[in-house]
Symmetry: none
Subunit: 411 residues, 2 copies
Amino acid sequence: MLAEIITIGDEILIGQIVDTNSAWMATELNKIGLRVKQISSVSDDREHILKALAEAAGRVNIIFITGGLGPTKDDITKKTLAEYFGVGLVENKETLDNVERIFARYNRPLLEVNKLQALVPENCEVIINHNGTAPGMWFNHEGIIYISMPGVPFEMMYMMEEGVLPKIKSTLKLPSIIHKTLLTVGEGESFLAERIADIENDLPPYIKLAYLPKPGQVRLRLSAFGTDEALLKQGVDEFAGRIIERLGSIFVIDQDIALEKAILNKMEARELTLSVAESCTGGYLSHLITQHAGSSSVFFGGGIVYSYELKEHILGVKNETLTKYGAVSEQTVKEMVEGALLNFKSDFAIAITGIAGPDGGTDDKPVGTVWIAVAGKGKMLIKKYTFGNKRRQNIERSAATALSMLNTLLT
Amino acid sequence: MLAEIITIGDEILIGQIVDTNSAWMATELNKIGLRVKQISSVSDDREHILKALAEAAGRVNIIFITGGLGPTKDDITKKTLAEYFGVGLVENKETLDNVERIFARYNRPLLEVNKLQALVPENCEVIINHNGTAPGMWFNHEGIIYISMPGVPFEMMYMMEEGVLPKIKSTLKLPSIIHKTLLTVGEGESFLAERIADIENDLPPYIKLAYLPKPGQVRLRLSAFGTDEALLKQGVDEFAGRIIERLGSIFVIDQDIALEKAILNKMEARELTLSVAESCTGGYLSHLITQHAGSSSVFFGGGIVYSYELKEHILGVKNETLTKYGAVSEQTVKEMVEGALLNFKSDFAIAITGIAGPDGGTDDKPVGTVWIAVAGKGKMLIKKYTFGNKRRQNIERSAATALSMLNTLLT
């Protein structure tokens, strides 16, 4: 069963936004056994959209369309779909109710242009958008399924998770797929591959192994495709077990969850609490943690201590330490983590200080120099890292590495 | 003059990597006046590649192909291109020298498989890859230009900048494109559209207007296409001016930069400083600010005060206020912002407290209830918002709204 993703909108074609939707959708579709044959980004142009739909219909069984559903004039996906299917637009009561509900919630007057959001091609089945006014639409046309969704990432994601994926699974007969993801930290992709090369060679043809690297961490995903679900599961479990045994301490968890979530779960089960002192990561580590529901049962918060003054005021770092050794030093990061434990009264704390760049580097402390400390329950780890010269990458790697160190301290 | 980008490789189609190459290329091509008509991601499959090339040749004048040029068996772009053009492969001396040079530089033995990198379709003009072994290839075939490049981002980028873009500019007569982006905050897409409907109707055919919404903000992008650059610029400036005048206070800046970056620039120019007190946004607001290079000249940092204790300890919020009115209340957010100003000694401060969800809501304070305060220089704005029930969305909208309130206070 093959799928195509068509994204509609000039913003991708002029490079204004990076198309992250398609990668997310492709991952989710793969999980349920739908293989993506092509991803096409086309402009908000009637003829171009019609052609892209026709071409995709010649290639695949199911077509996912995102974008071009806003209330403004440049959004023409809906009327172009109606033209493609040769049908008219009709008002959908459920969608109108949804639009009215959303406007009422925000106490905004409902404009005529918003009511037009409730018009849909008459051959479609509406998928309600609980997070926006543009409805999702499901079409069955000459043996091919077309699904149109908004391009706003969170609207599309919730719609996929709540409406589209369950409907696909109940509508189509898809092969069985069993995935198992092993989260590892602190070792690069090629080193990992070398460590488990013999196990990988032993994999039967129905099991595939993918390496999914992120800064500081690599996910190993075992995927088995076939018809006998019990057999697939048995095969995947066996190989997962062999890999986990081989990996030792760099293995974190056999679930496809984020590293910080795995740590939060572990700490919550052991009734441990956490606080942070962030300098160069500037809130990114806290954001990673607090994006997860329920994080407040473990996470107290902490200080974002960009300036010297805040390092002193919030954490009690000594002015003498800062002037003598500098903000990016072993002495400062140690006082930061100790200050966090003392002032925030959590069981564990993380402190990060470094030079994210692009400016601020010196000969002995170049851009990418980062000191990280994790401490708690009488134990402490302090390490210096030299990452690259890209600000964003330095922030992300610092946060991932700090989490990885905390994971080590907890193990 | 129209272009298409074809990316070849399964890693994009299974969602393993996000296609950032295409956005970068599209931006660069737009700058020199080449409009990207379509971006297609296809698999490492002979038939599929041949079809994608033929379809693109029917649509555009110039086709950029990335990926599938590695030395391993699954990389088939080169021989498929030779088949598409109906030519054979020949060894290219310059490429072989380059491959040998690279292997010598890293002291690696040159394998037979690496020498194969020097084989190219006989109708191509080679573009040397100074950062890798796979050559770039330029084809002129039946009036259409085909350019094949490696998929490794930095190899592709250097090749584009050093070889491809200069060659395109000297080979093709390109039209001019002028873009201008207007950043607005605090008003939804449809309201904006209604406010400027008459101006939009007046737009000449050579100027397009696009609405690019994000949580709490909308970008309006005017794009003019034509030959007379001065005329295009004049037209875009005139309409930008009319729109800016109409929008009044919701207009932030006529540059394509992030809202927080626009505020940082404004504050830096006026030598103002900022600190934050984040509860429900949990570091996200600080992360938005500190992802920008140079933010430390404005931003001191602040407190992530998830727990009652940290609200008291870091900000000096009174325990009595928290127990009497609750952490999500006007009284608490007021003490938070005052505490930030007092303790962190910045000119301005932002405080946010709310219920991000999915749990923690009550009848009178449902999930999505957020209090935001911004204060400084004797002025203060405090407002209560009721966002939705999605955690991630509540975090993003709270941060964007807080920035929007700060922008108002600064204006």
